[in-house]
Subunit: 132 residues, 2 copies
DNA sequence: GTAGTACTTTATAATGATTCTAAAAAGGTG
DNA sequence: CACCTTTTTAGAATCATTATAAAGTACTAC
């Protein structure tokens, strides 16, 4: 299986559940945005075994920590994740409550002029809210 | 009282509670970031009357809708608000879990090249995550 | 392969922020 | 003041997320 090494290399045991979640998350043409609830539904559709909600939470957090998923900073009652881990940004359509990718090339270069002593920049994320 | 007109002009009755919350939010030299819990604490310290938590929620949402407060897009278990409603951005210190204002001038001009049909840009918000 | 250990999964309970409810209180108008 | 509408309130309800602790599984050494 193609995800066994990936998991092992990052110190995660390649359990059946994790491999199945990898299939759902990473085995698709396009990257996508999801909430835990979205993912739970998707798993129910695509996987015949049942995976407990707690495991889904654990796995998503583990994958995020390892850098296989990114959280999308947005105010919502649920946390949004992205399988696109490249450096990029988002549109947020307020009416449809939908996220749309915004590649780095679609945003001019961003230069943060202010420096904070002893801290370094980990990421720069742009959220563009859209209305009709 | 200086906030009576402000409230009346936006169609909100100037109740005792709303005026007191205005004092706490807007009667300070500097703008600040807060969660509902932060605000609740601040009110308890500064105001002798008790204001119910439900009223604080109602009022903050009403003020946000009227444009007197802004939500800060950030993934957290609590919603962060800002009394600084000018067009600006934020640093987020991951370790200290603290927000720091980033004026527009501290960020180079941002040019969103991609257009979405039938939608217009309402806001562009930048979140810069900081680590040690 | 087996034994031992550490990690993982699981169902369920607990937590905690936010929203809902419906009754009491207060503001606004004539 | 009398009336109607808006607002406040305490407490209950909701819902995403996290904690718990027992059972199951992966890995390592022999």
């Amino acid at each position: 299986m193609k995800y066994i090494e990936k998991l092992r290399n990052s110190g995660l045991r390649p359990t059946k559940q994790r491999l199945q979640i990898c299939e759902v998350l990473f085995n698709s043409e396009k990257t996508f945005h999801f909430t835990i609830n979205d993912l739970d539904q998707k798993i129910k559709k695509q996987i015949s075994d049942k995976i407990s909600l707690a495991t889904i939470y654990n796995t998503v957090h583990a994958f995020e920590k390892k850098g296989y998923l990114k959280q999308i900073p947005i105010n919502s009652n649920q946390i949004y994740f992205d399988t696109n881990i490249s450096d990029h940004h988002h549109f947020y359509d307020l009416k449809e409550e939908k996220l749309i990718d915004l590649e780095n090339a679609d945003v001019g270069p961003i230069n943060i002029l202010k420096k904070i002593n002893g801290k370094k920049i980990k990421s720069v994320e742009v959220l563009v809210k859209l209305e009709d």
